[in-house]
Subunit: 124 residues, 2 copies
DNA sequence: CTGGATCCAAAATGATACTG
DNA sequence: CAGTATCATTTTGGATCCAG
Protein backbone atom coordinates (compact mmCIF):
# COMPACT_ATOMS: atom_id res chain seq x y z
CA UNK A 1 0.00 0.00 0.00
CA UNK A 2 3.04 2.18 -0.03
CA UNK A 3 5.36 1.08 -2.75
CA UNK A 4 6.90 4.44 -3.23
CA UNK A 5 10.47 3.37 -2.62
CA UNK A 6 11.58 3.12 -6.20
CA UNK A 7 10.31 6.44 -7.38
CA UNK A 8 12.20 9.65 -7.83
CA UNK A 9 10.99 12.42 -5.58
CA UNK A 10 13.85 14.79 -5.96
CA UNK A 11 12.04 18.07 -5.50
CA UNK A 12 13.86 19.69 -8.39
CA UNK A 13 13.38 17.23 -11.24
CA UNK A 14 10.31 15.45 -9.97
CA UNK A 15 8.03 13.71 -12.46
CA UNK A 16 5.23 13.87 -9.95
CA UNK A 17 5.37 17.59 -9.56
CA UNK A 18 4.67 18.09 -13.26
CA UNK A 19 1.33 16.41 -12.75
CA UNK A 20 0.53 17.70 -9.32
CA UNK A 21 1.11 21.27 -10.37
CA UNK A 22 -1.90 20.95 -12.62
CA UNK A 23 -4.14 19.74 -9.86
CA UNK A 24 -2.71 22.46 -7.71
CA UNK A 25 -4.15 25.30 -9.71
CA UNK A 26 -7.54 26.53 -8.69
CA UNK A 27 -9.08 25.66 -12.03
CA UNK A 28 -7.21 23.07 -14.07
CA UNK A 29 -8.86 20.12 -12.38
CA UNK A 30 -12.30 21.60 -12.90
CA UNK A 31 -11.47 22.18 -16.54
CA UNK A 32 -10.35 18.60 -17.00
CA UNK A 33 -13.60 17.42 -15.50
CA UNK A 34 -15.70 19.66 -17.71
CA UNK A 35 -13.80 18.52 -20.76
CA UNK A 36 -14.18 14.92 -19.69
CA UNK A 37 -17.87 15.19 -20.39
CA UNK A 38 -17.44 16.58 -23.90
CA UNK A 39 -15.46 19.18 -25.83
CA UNK A 40 -16.32 22.75 -24.89
CA UNK A 41 -15.89 26.15 -26.41
CA UNK A 42 -14.10 28.94 -24.62
CA UNK A 43 -17.28 30.75 -23.69
CA UNK A 44 -18.94 27.58 -22.48
CA UNK A 45 -16.09 26.91 -20.13
CA UNK A 46 -16.26 30.45 -18.82
CA UNK A 47 -19.97 30.19 -18.18
CA UNK A 48 -19.50 26.79 -16.58
CA UNK A 49 -17.06 28.23 -14.08
CA UNK A 50 -18.86 31.38 -13.02
CA UNK A 51 -16.09 32.87 -10.93
CA UNK A 52 -13.09 32.27 -13.13
CA UNK A 53 -11.52 35.31 -14.70
CA UNK A 54 -10.92 35.07 -18.39
CA UNK A 55 -7.27 35.63 -17.74
CA UNK A 56 -7.03 32.48 -15.65
CA UNK A 57 -9.17 30.53 -18.05
CA UNK A 58 -6.86 31.35 -20.92
CA UNK A 59 -3.80 30.63 -18.86
CA UNK A 60 -5.09 27.35 -17.45
CA UNK A 61 -6.07 26.14 -20.90
CA UNK A 62 -2.67 27.05 -22.24
CA UNK A 63 -0.96 25.16 -19.44
CA UNK A 64 -3.03 22.08 -20.16
CA UNK A 65 -2.41 22.42 -23.85
CA UNK A 66 1.27 22.90 -23.26
CA UNK A 67 1.55 19.55 -21.50
CA UNK A 68 -0.53 17.81 -24.12
CA UNK A 69 -3.55 17.12 -21.94
CA UNK A 70 -5.89 19.31 -23.94
CA UNK A 71 -6.01 20.18 -27.63
CA UNK A 72 -7.22 23.42 -29.15
CA UNK A 73 -9.22 23.52 -32.37
CA UNK A 74 -9.93 26.81 -34.11
CA UNK A 75 -12.90 27.03 -36.44
CA UNK A 76 -12.19 29.85 -38.91
CA UNK A 77 -15.66 31.30 -38.71
CA UNK A 78 -16.74 34.85 -38.07
CA UNK A 79 -16.82 35.46 -35.21
CA UNK A 80 -14.16 32.88 -34.40
CA UNK A 81 -14.97 29.87 -32.30
CA UNK A 82 -12.43 27.73 -30.48
CA UNK A 83 -13.06 24.29 -29.16
CA UNK A 84 -11.06 22.56 -26.47
CA UNK A 85 -11.02 18.83 -26.00
CA UNK A 86 -9.18 16.25 -23.99
CA UNK A 87 -6.34 14.46 -25.73
CA UNK A 88 -5.80 10.75 -25.25
CA UNK A 89 -3.19 11.63 -22.67
CA UNK A 90 -5.60 13.91 -20.88
CA UNK A 91 -8.25 11.23 -20.97
CA UNK A 92 -5.90 8.70 -19.44
CA UNK A 93 -5.36 11.00 -16.51
CA UNK A 94 -9.04 10.92 -15.68
CA UNK A 95 -8.95 7.44 -14.28
CA UNK A 96 -6.43 7.98 -11.48
CA UNK A 97 -7.95 11.39 -10.97
CA UNK A 98 -11.39 9.85 -10.53
CA UNK A 99 -10.00 7.56 -7.83
CA UNK A 100 -8.75 10.59 -5.96
CA UNK A 101 -12.03 12.42 -6.37
CA UNK A 102 -13.95 9.44 -5.12
CA UNK A 103 -11.74 9.32 -2.06
CA UNK A 104 -12.31 13.01 -1.50
CA UNK A 105 -16.07 12.64 -1.75
CA UNK A 106 -16.07 9.63 0.56
CA UNK A 107 -13.90 11.24 3.20
CA UNK A 108 -15.01 14.80 3.01
CA UNK A 109 -17.18 14.63 6.09
CA UNK A 110 -14.40 12.99 8.10
CA UNK A 111 -11.92 15.66 7.13
CA UNK A 112 -14.38 18.40 7.97
CA UNK A 113 -15.02 17.10 11.44
CA UNK A 114 -11.31 16.49 12.05
CA UNK A 115 -10.76 20.08 11.08
CA UNK A 116 -13.37 21.40 13.44
CA UNK A 117 -12.08 19.27 16.29
CA UNK A 118 -8.61 20.60 15.64
CA UNK A 119 -9.74 24.20 15.65
CA UNK A 120 -11.49 23.63 18.96
CA UNK A 121 -8.44 21.99 20.48
CA UNK A 122 -6.16 24.84 19.45
CA UNK A 123 -8.62 27.62 20.21
CA UNK A 124 -7.64 27.44 23.86
CA UNK B 1 -14.09 6.68 -17.77
CA UNK B 2 -15.68 9.97 -16.89
CA UNK B 3 -18.48 9.44 -14.44
CA UNK B 4 -18.14 12.83 -12.86
CA UNK B 5 -21.68 13.96 -13.48
CA UNK B 6 -23.09 13.27 -10.05
CA UNK B 7 -20.40 15.01 -8.06
CA UNK B 8 -20.45 18.47 -6.57
CA UNK B 9 -17.82 20.74 -8.00
CA UNK B 10 -19.11 24.04 -6.82
CA UNK B 11 -15.87 25.94 -6.50
CA UNK B 12 -16.83 27.44 -3.16
CA UNK B 13 -17.89 24.44 -1.06
CA UNK B 14 -16.12 21.74 -2.97
CA UNK B 15 -15.25 18.51 -1.19
CA UNK B 16 -12.60 17.85 -3.75
CA UNK B 17 -10.74 21.05 -3.13
CA UNK B 18 -10.17 20.12 0.51
CA UNK B 19 -8.16 17.19 -0.71
CA UNK B 20 -6.58 18.74 -3.75
CA UNK B 21 -5.32 21.69 -1.76
CA UNK B 22 -3.07 19.31 0.09
CA UNK B 23 -1.58 17.86 -3.04
CA UNK B 24 -1.31 21.35 -4.38
CA UNK B 25 1.16 22.49 -1.80
CA UNK B 26 4.78 22.14 -2.71
CA UNK B 27 5.49 19.77 0.14
CA UNK B 28 2.48 18.01 1.59
CA UNK B 29 2.51 15.22 -0.97
CA UNK B 30 6.17 14.58 -0.38
CA UNK B 31 5.53 14.45 3.35
CA UNK B 32 2.72 11.96 2.92
CA UNK B 33 5.01 9.78 0.88
CA UNK B 34 7.81 9.93 3.42
CA UNK B 35 5.40 9.12 6.21
CA UNK B 36 3.96 6.26 4.17
CA UNK B 37 7.22 4.42 4.61
CA UNK B 38 7.33 4.83 8.37
CA UNK B 39 6.84 7.42 11.10
CA UNK B 40 9.44 10.14 11.08
CA UNK B 41 10.71 12.71 13.49
CA UNK B 42 10.70 16.40 12.67
CA UNK B 43 14.40 16.53 11.98
CA UNK B 44 14.30 13.42 9.82
CA UNK B 45 11.66 14.97 7.61
CA UNK B 46 13.68 18.13 7.29
CA UNK B 47 16.78 16.19 6.30
CA UNK B 48 14.74 14.11 3.88
CA UNK B 49 13.53 17.23 2.10
CA UNK B 50 16.77 19.17 1.71
CA UNK B 51 15.26 22.35 0.36
CA UNK B 52 12.28 22.78 2.60
CA UNK B 53 12.42 25.63 5.04
CA UNK B 54 11.57 24.72 8.60
CA UNK B 55 8.79 27.24 8.43
CA UNK B 56 7.07 25.37 5.63
CA UNK B 57 7.76 22.01 7.23
CA UNK B 58 6.00 23.08 10.41
CA UNK B 59 3.13 24.61 8.51
CA UNK B 60 2.63 21.67 6.16
CA UNK B 61 2.65 19.22 9.05
CA UNK B 62 0.10 21.30 10.89
CA UNK B 63 -2.15 21.40 7.85
CA UNK B 64 -2.00 17.63 7.52
CA UNK B 65 -2.58 17.21 11.22
CA UNK B 66 -5.47 19.62 11.09
CA UNK B 67 -7.30 17.50 8.54
CA UNK B 68 -6.58 14.29 10.40
CA UNK B 69 -4.19 12.82 7.86
CA UNK B 70 -1.18 12.87 10.16
CA UNK B 71 -0.87 12.53 13.91
CA UNK B 72 1.70 14.14 16.13
CA UNK B 73 3.29 12.32 19.08
CA UNK B 74 5.45 14.17 21.59
CA UNK B 75 7.93 12.18 23.62
CA UNK B 76 8.60 14.16 26.80
CA UNK B 77 12.32 13.59 26.74
CA UNK B 78 15.14 16.08 26.99
CA UNK B 79 15.74 17.30 24.43
CA UNK B 80 12.20 16.85 23.16
CA UNK B 81 11.45 14.57 20.25
CA UNK B 82 8.30 14.64 18.15
CA UNK B 83 7.18 11.88 15.88
CA UNK B 84 4.75 12.23 13.00
CA UNK B 85 2.84 9.33 11.57
CA UNK B 86 0.06 8.70 9.11
CA UNK B 87 -3.39 8.20 10.56
CA UNK B 88 -5.72 5.55 9.17
CA UNK B 89 -7.33 8.29 7.13
CA UNK B 90 -3.98 9.42 5.81
CA UNK B 91 -3.10 5.84 4.97
CA UNK B 92 -6.29 5.39 3.02
CA UNK B 93 -5.37 8.35 0.85
CA UNK B 94 -2.20 6.63 -0.24
CA UNK B 95 -3.92 4.22 -2.55
CA UNK B 96 -5.61 6.72 -4.88
CA UNK B 97 -2.54 8.89 -4.55
CA UNK B 98 -0.35 6.02 -5.65
CA UNK B 99 -2.47 5.62 -8.77
CA UNK B 100 -1.86 9.23 -9.62
CA UNK B 101 1.85 8.95 -8.95
CA UNK B 102 2.09 5.88 -11.10
CA UNK B 103 0.38 7.76 -13.91
CA UNK B 104 2.78 10.62 -13.47
CA UNK B 105 5.78 8.33 -13.61
CA UNK B 106 4.44 6.51 -16.65
CA UNK B 107 3.63 9.64 -18.61
CA UNK B 108 6.37 11.93 -17.49
CA UNK B 109 8.39 11.51 -20.64
CA UNK B 110 5.35 12.15 -22.83
CA UNK B 111 4.49 15.33 -20.98
CA UNK B 112 8.04 16.53 -21.18
CA UNK B 113 8.25 16.10 -24.91
CA UNK B 114 4.80 17.65 -25.42
CA UNK B 115 6.04 20.61 -23.46
CA UNK B 116 9.18 20.98 -25.51
CA UNK B 117 7.24 20.68 -28.75
CA UNK B 118 4.87 23.35 -27.54
CA UNK B 119 7.67 25.71 -26.61
CA UNK B 120 9.18 25.25 -30.06
CA UNK B 121 5.86 25.87 -31.78
CA UNK B 122 5.27 29.08 -29.86
CA UNK B 123 8.83 30.29 -29.95
CA UNK B 124 8.25 31.58 -33.45
C1' DC C 1 -16.08 35.52 -29.60
C1' DT C 2 -11.49 34.69 -28.21
C1' DG C 3 -7.78 36.14 -25.94
C1' DG C 4 -3.41 39.26 -25.36
C1' DA C 5 -1.35 42.98 -22.28
C1' DT C 6 -0.97 45.63 -18.21
C1' DC C 7 -1.49 46.90 -13.55
C1' DC C 8 -2.48 45.67 -8.88
C1' DA C 9 -3.87 42.96 -4.63
C1' DA C 10 -3.29 38.87 -2.15
C1' DA C 11 -1.40 34.52 -0.97
C1' DA C 12 2.43 31.32 -0.72
C1' DT C 13 7.16 30.57 0.26
C1' DG C 14 11.79 31.57 1.84
C1' DA C 15 15.51 33.62 5.13
C1' DT C 16 16.75 34.69 9.46
C1' DA C 17 16.67 35.27 14.32
C1' DC C 18 14.87 33.84 18.63
C1' DT C 19 12.65 30.55 22.43
C1' DG C 20 11.28 26.40 25.64
C1' DC D 1 15.30 19.30 19.04
C1' DA D 2 11.31 21.42 17.66
C1' DG D 3 9.32 24.88 16.95
C1' DT D 4 7.55 30.51 16.76
C1' DA D 5 7.88 35.33 14.95
C1' DT D 6 9.02 38.66 11.63
C1' DC D 7 10.35 40.43 7.31
C1' DA D 8 11.40 40.13 2.28
C1' DT D 9 10.37 37.95 -1.93
C1' DT D 10 8.11 35.28 -5.28
C1' DT D 11 4.04 33.57 -7.21
C1' DT D 12 -0.70 33.68 -8.18
C1' DG D 13 -5.03 35.52 -9.17
C1' DG D 14 -8.26 39.27 -10.45
C1' DA D 15 -9.75 43.70 -12.95
C1' DT D 16 -9.63 46.25 -16.85
C1' DC D 17 -8.67 47.74 -21.34
C1' DC D 18 -7.46 46.58 -26.03
C1' DA D 19 -7.34 43.84 -30.61
C1' DG D 20 -8.08 40.33 -34.46
Amino acid sequence: MAGFKGLDFDAANCPVRDVLDHLAGKWTTLLLIMLAERPHRFGELRRGLPDISQRMLTQSLRDLQRDGLVSRHVHPTVPPSVEYRLTALGGSLLEPLAALITWAADNHATIRSAREAFEQATAA
